[in-house]
């Protein structure tokens, strides 16, 4: 399989406030990319723009999956085209059982042409598959009956996102801090799970502030975002450097991007007295 996700000169605004200012990124199927950068630099924004969140307006540039122009698609069409994002803060859907949610999601993603109201994956077949995936990821079978993310602990939510990814097997997955909020054992388990499900079976864009996830999923490329742009790209060693030494060197080397980053972070001016 050869698929390619191409992001070209991407500019994204939220409420008319520019956040991304010209992002270029190419990910091939089977590759692992790390996306790092200080808080507020625009990492989640990039992911949400790729996933098609309606509040993230693309003002310039393009996102393409193979020949398809994602920029013109609704979020659900992008998902069916093979893009997946594990969210930094997944929302809860009260009253909707995780198993029912995943069955419908998996059906739509596997049969992109399915019309509303057409049959879902047969219940027995789906249950079997879900059960084995949950075993593989060491997730309590009780999960399936619980409402989507409702009352889940931070760690459970991230596990559920990984399970969702496993069930949807996308072509490209963006993992937004899927390792944060987890205890040491859980990080190890999550990292191993991602490697098992994702490595070589999709293109991965891993957003992280920690090193564990990348230890299990060594990136071929590490990108550093600052002020809404990717300012540097390197290999696995760049991720290690940033993890050990922080962003000082980056901030100093790219003063314009650093200024933009500070500007984005700046609170509203206090009213003059």
């Amino acid at each position: 399989m050869s698929h390619i996700l191409q992001i070209e000169n991407l500019h994204v605004s939220v409420n008319d406030k520019p956040i991304l200012r010209g992002v270029n990124l190419v990910i091939k199927f089977g590759e692992t990319h790390a996306l790092m950068g200080p808080n507020g630099s625009g990492k989640s924004t990039l992911g949400l723009a790729i996933a098609g969140h309606p509040n993230y307006q693309i003002t310039q540039g393009s996102i393409k999956l193979d020949d398809a122009n994602l920029t013109e698609m609704e979020a659900d069409e992008r998902s069916r085209a093979g893009v997946f994002m594990a969210f930094q803060r997944p929302v809860a859907i009260p009253g909707v059982k995780t198993a029912d949610f995943l069955r419908h999601a998996a059906t739509n993603v596997r049969r992109p042409d399915r019309k509303e109201g057409q049959d879902l994956i047969p219940m027995r077949e789906f249950r079997k598959e879900l059960k084995s995936k949950m075993e593989q990821l060491k997730i309590d079978p009780d999960f399936a009956r619980r409402y989507v993310n409702d009352g889940f602990s931070g760690g459970e939510m991230k596990r559920a996102e990984i399970l969702t990814m496993a069930m949807l097997s996308p072509k490209f997955a963006i993992l937004d801090e899927t390792d944060s909020g987890l205890d040491a054992d859980a990080v190890r388990l999550a990292s191993a799970s991602i490697a098992e499900i994702g490595r070589d079976k999709m293109g991965l864009l891993i957003i992280t502030h920690h090193d564990k996830l990348l230890e299990h999923n060594p990136p071929q490329f590490t990108h550093v975002m600052l002020g809404g742009r990717i300012v540097e790209t390197g290999g696995a060693e760049l991720a290690r450097e940033l993890h050990d030494q922080g962003y000082d060197r980056i901030r100093k080397s790219y003063p314009d991007a650093e200024a933009a980053n500070q500007q984005m972070l700046a609170k509203e001016e206090p009213l003059a007295v």
Binding site: P54, A75, D76, V96, F101, H104, T107, N108
Partner: protein, 443 residues
């Protein structure tokens, strides 16, 4: 007689005038006590005014479009059910008895022989008023006072027929009893439901009302009385699915006796305008009641529910949960009251109303209230109203759901809390399907 802007047109009602009432009395074969009762109610009807729009119960109602003169009471006319009139609560259900009325007059009756032999009665209220005269006389309109309002008076005077269910002492009716009220386009339904459970009795009653198509017009002015003696257990389901051109007025009352249990599920889907006054009275210690309400509205539908959970005795429990989903320019009003009488200590009262708006133009009023005259009680209430959360829609879309599938799922999830409380699976399924049918395509 003073009339108000809200109701000024209601009065031009020659169709519900003296000649109509006289003709009704003449045509019916009622026992003397019933004729006397009707005449009393007729006097009330003639002496009181239509509801005052400043009245708490009616100030959020809208009767302006109602023209009584466009309708005429069905005086004992037995007609065929109109083609296309849906029956939703029978699917997958093995029933022990059934009644069907068309335009408020019962046209078919059935009852398992075994139950009949045990003294169970399921039959036309008109017929039972003759065949079980003493029984019906004792209970009919014992909970609903014709003076409640002018609609109640009209119904008490002119009710056309209805459903009588009587379960004798210690008899358990295992299979559900199905009651269906069908109303033709432009017709009138003045039916009455009377259900009596003696001590230790148990029954499940599935009641539904429907019209031949979604746009059908009509007028329903009805009453429901559920009477439970000690240690009885009643599950009562009421699916209101009239056409969206119907007017629906109803007084619905339950009286729950010692250590008895009532589970009352209400699903309000149809009607153009509905005003329902629902009361559960806990009259002896240990009575427990649970009310599950589902409302789903669209277009310009306007549903008003005034509910009262009245604790008249100590150690009783009442638990009311109403949830509504509103589309388009529709409107719901829920005014809930927990009333605790003096001496009703150890009351446990709960009421909650949650509303989910699928459009900016929809409006939900939620007015919980407490009136407590005892000091050792626990009463809690709450309500929420809000738009469907765009973040939830995006989350589902990012997992392959279309926008309208996402909304459909969120709506189903919103009602799930109520479905989790409904113990009858076929009812859950039927209501789920009815709701799914009503969710619009959102783009």
């Amino acid at each position: 007689m003073t009339t108000s802007a809200m109701t000024d047109k209601l009065d031009s009602t020659e169709t519900f005038g003296q000649p109509a009432f006289d003709r009704l009395l003449e045509k019916r074969i009622d026992p003397a006590w019933l004729t006397a009762k009707r005449k009393q109610a007729w006097e009330v009807f003639q002496s009181i005014d239509w509801p005052n729009p400043r009245d708490e119960n009616w100030m959020r109602s809208e009767l302006r479009g109602l023209r009584l003169s466009k309708f005429a009471p069905n005086i004992d006319e037995s007609v065929e059910i109109a083609e296309g009139t849906p029956v939703r609560l029978l699917e997958g259900v093995d029933v022990s008895a059934g009644l069907r009325s068309v335009n408020g007059v019962v046209v078919s009756e059935s009852l398992d022989e075994g139950l009949a032999a045990q003294g169970v009665v399921v039959g036309s209220l008109s017929r039972c008023a003759r065949d079980h005269s003493a029984l019906v006389e004792r209970y009919l309109h014992s909970l609903i006072c014709p003076k409640s309002d002018r609609f109640a008076a009209l119904q008490a005077a002119m009710w056309s027929d209805g459903y009588f269910v009587y379960v004798p002492r210690n008899v358990r009716v295992e299979k559900p009893i199905h009651l269906h009220s069908a109303m033709g386009d432009g017709q009138v339904d003045l039916s009455h439901t009377l259900i009596v459970l003696e001590s230790g009795a148990e029954a499940t009653v599935l009641f539904e009302s429907s019209s031949p198509d979604v746009t059908a017009k009509g007028l329903h002015c009805g009453g429901v009385e559920l009477i439970q003696h000690g240690n009885s257990h009643l599950r009562y389901v009421n699916l209101q699915d009239w056409g969206k051109g119907c007017w629906h007025f109803a007084h619905q009352r339950a009286s729950v006796g010692r250590d008895s249990q009532l589970q009352w599920t209400v699903a309000a889907m149809g009607a153009k305008f509905a005003q329902v006054d629902q009361r559960v009275e806990l009259v002896e210690p240990g009575a427990r009641s649970q009310v599950n309400g589902v409302m789903f509205t669209q277009d310009r539908q306007h549903l008003v529910y005034n509910t009262l959970q009245h604790h008249k005795a100590p150690h009783c429990t009442s638990d009311f949960l109403y949830k509504s989903v509103l589309q388009d320019r529709s409107r719901t009003v829920w005014r809930g009251m927990i009333k605790v009488s003096e001496g009703a200590q150890k009351t446990d009262g709960y009421q909650r109303n949650d509303n989910l708006m699928l459009s900016d133009a929809a409006r939900a009023d939620s007015i919980p209230g407490l009136e407590i005259n005892a000091d050792d009680v626990r009463c809690t209430h709450g309500s929420t109203s809000g738009r469907v959360d765009e973040e939830l829609i995006f989350y589902a879309q990012s997992r392959g759901f279309t926008r309208s599938e996402a909304i459909r799922m969120i709506v189903t999830g919103f009602f799930q809390q109520i479905f989790d409380r409904i113990t009858i699976q076929t009812v859950r399924e039927a209501l789920g399907a009815a709701i799914a049918r009503q969710v619009r395509q959102y783009e």
